[in-house]
């Protein structure tokens, strides 16, 4: 790693700095999607074991975020959005961050293995490796397809959750993986459109910097056109029901409308206009809400199916 930042001789980081290395917001999303994967899974697990498995998955996600920050400290130092992170700001040494990340990664994999099964643990280890090495070290600085392929790392948690319950992965888990995988490009490219100068300064080949604004807007629309029908698959497969169908329908329509508007009225080939900037921000924000509501609907339907026996038909798997 070629960091331009002079590391401090002694650690001056607070506990909060170490916590922020784990990217808590990403961790919360991982816990949420992994929980849905566990609930949708066709099997049962003791609630205490399930909670410990979720904790291990969350810590594993935090470890990969920490290793990502360790590797990307030089990029973070020149981007406005990330220059105050603990390593580029000089509050935590790179060696500390690397050691912290590796200990957490090994600990999370070990705990998941002894709590559930070693297939789930191996899956978690692979996910950490995928994010820290395949995405951060290799893809991020070398190809504009970085977040398309790297998005798999963020899409694995529901499958890990299911693997923790059943020891394997079903079509339902695979569909949840596909939804997050296809959601990632429109979500991140909407941000990259607005922050393209920031990424260019850091030398990260995000799609708008490589192929231009217009092509990126078109690709956002194309990915959204694939994402919206794929997001309805749980309904056809029986794991999603009325509430999920409504969210997938209305939310999908909202995603399509914003993606279409961004493509049609977002600006010219070289830059975004005012409508484009506004719509890109809206798409970025709405995509988070869309994914959250899709998984919340699944969570609600499956949790309700467990709590109300009469609605058991809508539940595929239980935590008890």
């Amino acid at each position: 790693m070629a960091s331009p930042v002079q590391p401090p001789l002694v650690s001056t980081g607070s506990v909060g700095d170490f916590v922020s290395l784990l990217k808590p917001r990403v961790m919360s999303l991982v816990v949420f999607t992994a929980l849905v994967g566990m609930l949708v899974a066709p099997g049962t697990v003791h609630p205490v074991v399930g909670a410990i498995a979720l904790l291990a998955i969350a810590v594993g996600a935090g470890a990969s975020g920490c290793l990502n920050m360790w590797w990307d400290a030089d990029i973070d130092a020149v981007m406005m959005r990330t220059r105050n992170r603990p390593i580029p700001a000089g509050r935590i040494t790179p060696d500390e961050a690397f050691t912290f990340g590796m200990i957490l990664a090994c600990g999370a994999v070990f705990v998941l293995g002894i709590a559930t099964n070693w297939f789930a643990a191996a899956f978690l280890a692979f996910t950490i490796f995928f994010y820290a090495v395949i995405y951060s070290v290799w893809l991020k600085r070398s190809t504009p397809q970085n977040i398309v392929i790297g998005g798999a790392a963020g899409a694995f948690p529901p499958m890990i959750g299911e693997a923790a319950v059943t020891g394997s992965v079903s079509v339902d888990g695979l569909v949840l993986f596909l939804i997050i995988l296809l959601w990632t490009p429109p979500h991140f490219w909407a941000l990259a459109l607005v922050k393209s100068e920031d990424y260019a300064r850091a030398g990260v080949p995000m799609m708008p910097n490589v192929v231009g604004q217009a092509s990126t807007r078109l690709q956002i629309l194309l990915y959204t056109l694939v994402l919206v029908p794929v997001a309805t698959l749980p309904v056809w497969l029986g794991s999603g029901h009325a509430l999920y169908a409504a969210v997938a329908g209305f939310g999908g329509a909202g995603m399509l409308w914003l993606a279409f508007r961004l493509w049609r009225r977002g600006g010219d080939a070289a830059s975004l206009n005012a409508v484009g900037v506004r719509t890109a921000w809206r798409l970025f924000g709405f995509s988070i809400l869309y994914l959250f509501l899709l998984f919340a609907a699944l969570l609600a339907e499956h949790a309700l199916g467990r709590l109300v026996p009469g609605l058991g038909a809508i539940s595929g798997g239980h935590l008890l």
Binding site: P8, L9, V10, S11, T12, G13, S14, V15, F18, H46, V48, V49, I52, L55, G90, R91, G107, V111, I114, A115
Partner: protein, 69 residues
Amino acid sequence: MSGGATHGKQGADKTVPAGAPEGVRLSPEERRRQRARNVAIGLALGGLFVLFYILTIARLGSNVFNRPL
């Protein structure tokens, strides 16, 4: 680096009194943070202890009674 730590002879003329042993000196704020980190590590280790205990009991389940008395 934030805070007022000095390292070896570099800042000796500013913060290290004459005759005092040289080395890394932490400012009160850095010392407070160090103590907080130590407490956090202690709590994490204690939490792991509790986690393994609870996990063991949960995995054993009713089998915990399945033994000769």
